[in-house]
């Protein structure tokens, strides 16, 4: 099939996944985009496995504490054990980060994980409790391609979110509106589509929603306000579930979600007609996410030239994308969290409940320089020679934790100790003639027309052997501004 077809398939892989993998290179030029999408759907149809990386010490401790008498038990924990708990929690969240990133790189269920990655930014949550984080992650991965209604309900009842948005403090006699506000502003309707009074009333419906130590949802009857509430024009003695249903009954919710999905998967500039068409169907399907994605990825306009290569890769997409094309062994995995911090996107540490703003906000002079140096840094084991900013939410007042471990992604001078496995990659370009190599490499790596000439890439490549030429030209192409786009 044609080069145009290959570019389209790569477009699909970058958007519906974390970029083409090296072992897919042959297929990408042979199948149609429709076939490829079917394959992606099939590979993502299984229920994902629960990612459990929580430390054994924590598990033992948590298993020993019952809900009854929990307050007293927690008080009994010695000061040094508290420190150990914090340290283990931090390490476990770091493992969770690396583990999930690793899934992005290696899984065939690209569509599911990419969509879960979207929801990770949508239901953005910072929480140092690894059990809570794992629970929330499981919810968004299980429901990633299912019903948005189910997911919204589960997320709203997750310990991670209830804690993060202070709903534990939302009581009948002392309401806390934070949870209700974010549910409306960021999870469903979007700003400007409700009144302050709607928030107040909705908050009353969520009173008593709480979570137990082990992350289970608890409804505290004594703290719930059973009175009548009026939310978005509807009146009744609503509970939280009923308020969520009122929010979902608003077409604006379908529109808000669809618009965000469009920006994430298609283009930062929204085509209103297409978006409205998608939103209508999303609403009619009662929020079937899988169908929404199918509508997008099987429509012709998704493959329009203006949508291809138009998005700036997020740091996670960049890091995972390089690893998918150039499989590598990392000696020091924490260099991956260091890179996440230096480039401005750390999994499980969104900037705030609004998630990562994306687009041009990824790029400033420092982050662009680092992005363009990255392929060489990986290959040469060069000193990164940069220091990331402190994160006091993680540092807990210490310069470095007593055990000497570093908080996630924090460090002075990272070195990425990686060994790239070039075998599969080389095999793909074996039969390409030398004078066509650069064109062939570029068409696999870049999704946008490049002004960088083949001559220039050649100048900077090692022509010693075909193999060294392919390696160095690949790294050089990955060091261009064009490679930052997908």
């Amino acid at each position: 099939m044609s080069l145009a077809n290959q570019i389209k398939n790569q477009h699909l892989m970058w958007r519906a996944g974390f970029g083409p993998a090296v072992e897919q290179l042959v297929d990408l030029s042979q199948v149609s985009s429709k076939q490829l999408y079917k394959a992606l759907q099939k590979a993502s149809s299984k229920k994902p496995e629960y990612i459990d990386v929580a430390d054994d010490f924590l598990k033992g401790l948590w298993a020993g504490i019952d809900e009854v008498g929990r307050q007293e038990k927690m008080k009994e924990i010695k000061e040094e054990d508290k420190k150990k708990i914090q340290q283990k929690q931090r390490e476990s969240v770091k493992s969770l980060n690396l583990n999930w990133l690793n899934v992005f790189v290696n899984t065939d269920a690209q569509l599911r994980e990419k969509m879960a990655f979207f929801w990770h930014g949508h239901f953005a949550c910072r929480n140092l409790n690894v059990f809570y984080q794992q629970g929330l992650l499981d919810i968004i991965r299980r429901n990633a391609l299912g019903s948005f209604r189910d997911m919204l309900q589960e997320v709203s009842k997750s310990a991670a979110m209830l804690n993060f948005l202070n709903n534990q403090q939302n009581r009948k006699d002392h309401p806390n509106e934070n949870f209700a506000r974010e549910v409306m502003e960021l999870f469903t309707l979007g700003r400007g589509n409700y009144t302050e009074n709607d928030i107040k009333e909705a908050a009353r419906a969520f009173t008593g929603w709480s979570a137990g130590l082990k992350g289970q949802f608890i409804f505290r009857r004594m703290q719930h306000d059973y009175g009548s509430k009026t939310v978005l024009g509807k009146t009744g003695d609503f509970d939280g579930d009923e308020v969520l249903d009122i929010l979902l009954s608003q077409k604006q919710t379908a529109k808000f979600i669809t618009q965000k999905v469009y920006k994430f998967f298609v283009n930062d500039t929204v085509d209103e007609d297409k978006m409205n068409w998608l939103a209508d169907r999303f609403y009619q399907s009662t929020y079937d996410i899988g169908k929404l994605l199918e509508d997008i990825f099987t429509s012709d306009w998704f493959y329009d030239e203006k949508n291809i290569g138009s998005k700036i890769k997020s740091p996670i997409e960049l890091i995972a994308g390089i690893q998918r094309m150039l499989p590598m062994q990392l000696e020091n995995e924490e260099s991956l969290t260091f890179l996440q911090r230096a480039l401005g996107q750390i999994l499980f540490y969104p900037p705030n409940v609004a998630g990562w703003p994306g687009g041009k906000t990824w790029i400033d002079s420092s982050s662009l320089m680092l992005r363009m140096r990255l392929p060489q840094l990986i290959n040469d084991i060069d000193e990164l020679n940069i220091k990331t900013k402190d994160d006091d939410d993680q540092m807990m007042g210490r310069k470095t934790p007593e055990d000497g471990s570093k908080p996630m992604g924090y460090g002075k001078r990272g070195v990425i100790r990686a060994t790239i496995d070039w075998k599969e990659y080389m095999r793909h370009f074996e039969k390409v003639q030398k004078d066509q190599l650069i064109g062939s490499l570029a068409s696999n790596l870049l999704q946008t027309k490049s002004s960088v000439s083949g001559e220039l890439i050649k100048q900077y490549s090692d022509a010693g052997s075909k193999e060294s030429f392919i390696k160095s030209a690949t790294l050089q192409l990955m060091s261009t501004p064009e490679y930052q786009l997908c």
Partner: protein, 399 residues
């Protein structure tokens, strides 16, 4: 001079659709654009939430000593300012500045509905939003947007660090972050980057890749410019060998040149003193004190002290009561230092915090930090504060 250049830049940006640096703009890089008398703002971020009550100590207040039996600082040890208040013993240089009328202390600065997460509260300070709002760009970045329309290099604002803070990111323009002008120069001038840049020609209509090339071009152009300027009049003064000391020395060297930078941003920390606060705050204050003393002395000796305003802030203060570990937990309102030869109000410019009127153990804010921003933007940087802060805030009188 400055006005002329701005007008010229605006014409320049209309005259060329190209995002690449036009040659005629480059010519301006060698001209003297920053004359003495031009105001410079240096922001010193005290990361981690500095304990304001042990910084400016209310040593006549019983509640203070009752709440802080272990970590309260005795009157005899504090550096006396007034009958009511004294400075932390390590801040001897600040006391000298106070004595010669170039230090102002603003108490009880904060914002409504305070957030006690470092990250979130820092976000609020960086963006200048209300605590209910989530903004994606910073107040100094938006200042840069306004200053740098169509300019070829965003050097009006510089951060002394390897990565750029949210405060310095605008909608369009983003400031430059660097630790060392020479290193920035070396990185940006890798031959490959320059060659790649030279081959790029903008096509009609804005392409997504243009933004990356624009940033690349600005980076290279800024790196060269900053490096050139840093060599013109490098500071010869002695500075402490600490990170902050060296950063302030770099800033001084740039101020002495004719660089067009108006805002410098530098951070110091971490002040997150949950445990053994005394030791940690003492160490950080000693470093800060020595660095600021060298910096202000250097500026004075070079006749630029009147043109520089140093402003400190922290994402929040700490709770009034100490905790069980000899430290303090996250609080709310806090004090700010304003330093410079050009300040119009001196010493304690508003009342000390009222420790008998607390909000669940936390200080109530009396001054919204956005009023401080508006004042600095309008009265010091001569910028359009309403456009930048997206709202009208009343001005204070310190500059």
């Amino acid at each position: 001079m400055i006005i002329k250049r701005r007008e010229f830049l605006q014409v320049g940006s209309l005259a060329t659709a190209s995002l690449m640096v036009p040659k005629f703009l480059k010519a301006f890089e060698v001209r003297n654009m920053m004359l003495p008398g031009n105001k410079v703002l240096v922001i010193l971020q005290l990361s981690g939430g500095n304990d304001g009550l042990n910084t400016v100590i209310p040593y006549r207040n019983d509640i203070y000593y009752k709440s802080r039996q272990r970590i309260g600082i005795e009157r005899s040890k504090a550096l006396s300012l007034t009958d009511e208040a004294g400075l932390h013993p390590a801040l001897t240089g600040f006391k000298e500045l106070y004595d010669d009328g170039s230090l102002a202390i603003m108490n009880s600065v904060g914002y409504p509905n305070p957030d006690r997460s470092h990250f979130r509260s820092m976000d609020i300070w960086h963006t200048g939003s209300e605590s209910k709002e989530y903004w994606t760009n910073g107040w100094l970045g938006r200042y840069l947007d306004a200053q740098c329309k169509g300019c070829d290099k965003p050097t009006y604002a510089l951060e002394l660090d390897d990565t750029l803070s949210l405060a310095m990111k605008g909608e369009e323009a983003k400031a430059i972050a660097m630790k060392d002008p020479k290193r920035l120069f070396g990185t940006a001038n890798q031959r490959f980057f320059k060659d790649v840049m030279q081959q790029h020609k903008d096509e009609p209509g804005e392409q997504p890749v243009d933004y990356l090339y624009k940033t690349l071009s600005e980076t290279v152009s800024s790196a060269n410019y900053i490096f050139e300027k840093s060599k013109l009049h490098p500071s010869k003064a002695e500075y402490p060998k600490t990170e902050l000391g060296q950063n302030l020395k770099t800033i001084a060297s740039l101020i002495f040149s004719d660089i067009n930078t108006k805002v410098y941003y530098v951070s110091h920390g971490s002040f997150d003193t949950h445990i053994n606060q005394q030791f940690q705050q003492q160490r950080l204050f000693t470093e800060m004190n020595d660095a600021i003393r060298s910096f202000t002395k250097d500026l004075k000796e070079n006749g630029r002290f009147d043109d520089v305003l140093v402003m400190t802030f922290s994402e929040f203060g700490r709770r009034v009561s100490q905790n069980a570990s000899g430290g303090t937990d996250h609080g709310t309102a806090n004090n700010m230092f304003l330093i410079g030869g050009g300040i119009k109000e001196k010493g304690l410019i508003n009342p000390m915090p009222d420790l008998s009127d607390l909000d669940e153990g936390d200080l109530k804010y009396k001054v919204d930090f956005k009023n401080v921003y508006a004042t600095v933007l309008k009265n010091w940087l001569a910028a359009d504060d309403m456009a930048i802060l997206k709202k009208k805030y009343d001005y204070l009188k310190f500059v």
